[in-house]
Amino acid sequence: MVHRKPWQLAVSRLSSNKGAMVSFFIIVGYILMALLPFVDFVGLKTSATLFNDETLKNTFAPFTLEHPFGTDHVGRDVFARAVMGTQVSLFLGFASGLMLIPIAIVIGAISGYYGGWIDEVAGYLMSVIVAIPGMLIILTLVQFGGRSFVMIAIAFAITGWVGLARVVRATFLQAREYEYVLAARALGASDFRIIFFHILPNVFHFVIITFVLNFVEVIKSEVFLAFIGLSVANIPSWGTMIDLSKQEVIAGNWQNLAGATVFMWVFLAALNIFGDGLRDALDPKLRNKS
């Protein structure tokens, strides 16, 4: 049999998982969709944000071909707004993930690799952060620190790194005793090299899975923040749409709720299924379990 690298095996396992592949293409579709407003494709951005005397005559329009999800209370196209909302969700997911992962890796790796008092301090820091309700840190930072999506992403990163850091730490704690690490050290490899090139690849699958599933958490929390009234004004997001709809559905205006829910549900389901597929493909211990 031809020798195959681990990542090739993982890719082949993943591509034989139909649900995960469909989800993967849905996710790629969402990423492309988020780029659409930048080129202002068929006036998407205009119909999502602009309202004037003309559009005000056509508020809460029913679902038609021209407006697949109807129009909202000032006559803006709900479908276009939902597409714009993709941008916010993806930004929050990427930004918080890209901040959270380096924090988790550095703190987890250093505390697991060096142990001793460094480990004590890091462990203390983690248990303090876990003991405070995360949503409260997020609410406080966003309420007092400024309502911007950057601040929301920072808040998610600050509260979200502990889980991954604990896994990284546990792996490093074990790995530093292994022979391959001893061998690397005997050959004169620096700590930096051992941490990032020898041990870190062992937790790489966990990092990817955390990154994917973090999107789900962040997107759901954005809805919560919008409900509390802590979203960013004038930028369409799924959270603000759902929040607006809570007064509208009583009067039978389902446009905002339907648009945002369909967009969000498809994306989250795809992320969940793809995340599961990744876990099955990347973690050999879990194979055949599902």
Partner: protein
């Protein structure tokens, strides 16, 4: 055992001091204190003298280190003063709100765990079948829907259109059950997807162990294997998972409490944020942390009682 207990309790002190410090930094350096004063005071008292007077009243003119120890003292004596917006004693406020949150979350949580266990057992028992696949699919469907959407749908359709439940409201005593039915139902719907998946994995993992194969090989009836062997042993991860969630139940559900006007602690917290009621917010966070830390301690001690190896670490 005794020395383990003492060690664990002593460990709580630096943890609590750390939590208070994070809270303190959050409100001092992200700019909470100043905006707190400007938002709490009526516009006509925004004069220099008034601000200085209130700064003095809340002890905000003291050196930071002294302010920090003021906070520590408040937690230690459990005296948080009075609410800024309603002037009630905060300890009374909290004592009144916590039971309402508990009555919302505990029954819902218990029902949800039982339902999830039944569904997960079905899925694990018929593993790989169409039933298993549709149950797993339905749990992903449930996990991917926003709680807010479910609440809006439930309140609009079940309560407003079909009049099956009251839309919202609250009364003290047994009359509250009428108002709690719909929130309970929604809680179960929101949480059941996650738990089914977790329990199913736990059951499947247990079912693959060697002793199960041995039991099958010697001809133990399948039903007996499921109930006496697998389910019983799978209870260990399941119970751990359940126990971890209990401290979060006391804080209730902010969304459910706000939507259904249930006067619980989540509702108190959000009102405090909206009205910049810093003393109440402070108290709620610290009480939450006390719950969390205290409960973790109790479970750890129970584990240590059951498993002597834990005590050595």
């Amino acid at each position: 055992m005794f020395s383990y207990l003492v060690r664990r309790i002593l460990n709580l002190i630096p943890l609590l001091l750390g939590v208070i410090l994070v809270f303190f930094l959050l409100f001092n350096f992200v700019g909470g204190q100043e905006s707190f004063l400007y938002n709490v005071l009526p516009a006509k008292s925004h004069t220099v003298e008034q601000i200085a007077y209130y700064k003095h009243k809340y002890g905000l003119d003291k050196p930071l280190i002294e302010q920090y120890f003021d906070l520590v003292r408040q937690v230690a004596t459990f005296d948080f003063g009075r609410s800024e917006s309603t002037k009630q004693k905060i300890t009374t406020l909290i004592a009144r709100h916590v039971p309402n949150s508990a009555i919302l979350t505990f029954p819902a949580f218990a029902m949800e765990i039982i339902i999830a266990l039944i569904i997960a057992s079905l899925a694990a028992f018929y593993r790989g079948s169409l039933l298993d696949k549709s149950l797993t699919f339905l749990s992903v469907v449930g996990m991917s829907i926003s709680m807010l959407v479910l609440i809006i749908l439930g309140q609009t359709l079940l309560a407003y259109e079909w009049k099956l439940f009251p839309i919202s409201g609250w009364e003290n005593g047994p009359g509250a059950i009428r108002y709690l039915l719909l929130p309970w139902l929604l809680w179960v719907l929101v949480a059941v997807g996650y738990d089914v998946r977790f329990f199913r994995t736990a059951l499947v993992e247990e079912g693959e162990k060697d002793y199960v194969r041995t039991a099958r090989a010697k001809g133990v009836p399948e039903r007996r294997i499921i109930f006496r062997h697998i389910l019983k042993n799978a209870m260990i991860p399941v119970l751990t998972y359940v126990v971890i969630q209990i401290p979060f139940l006391l804080t209730g559900s902010i969304l459910l409490e706000r939507f259904f006007s249930i006067p619980g602690i989540g509702d108190l917290m959000v009102s405090a944020i909206f009205s910049y009621d810093l003393p109440v917010l402070k108290a709620v966070v610290l009480v939450y942390t006390l719950f969390f830390v205290g409960f973790t301690l109790v479970t750890d001690v129970l584990y240590a009682l059951v498993d002597p190896r834990v005590r050595l670490n």
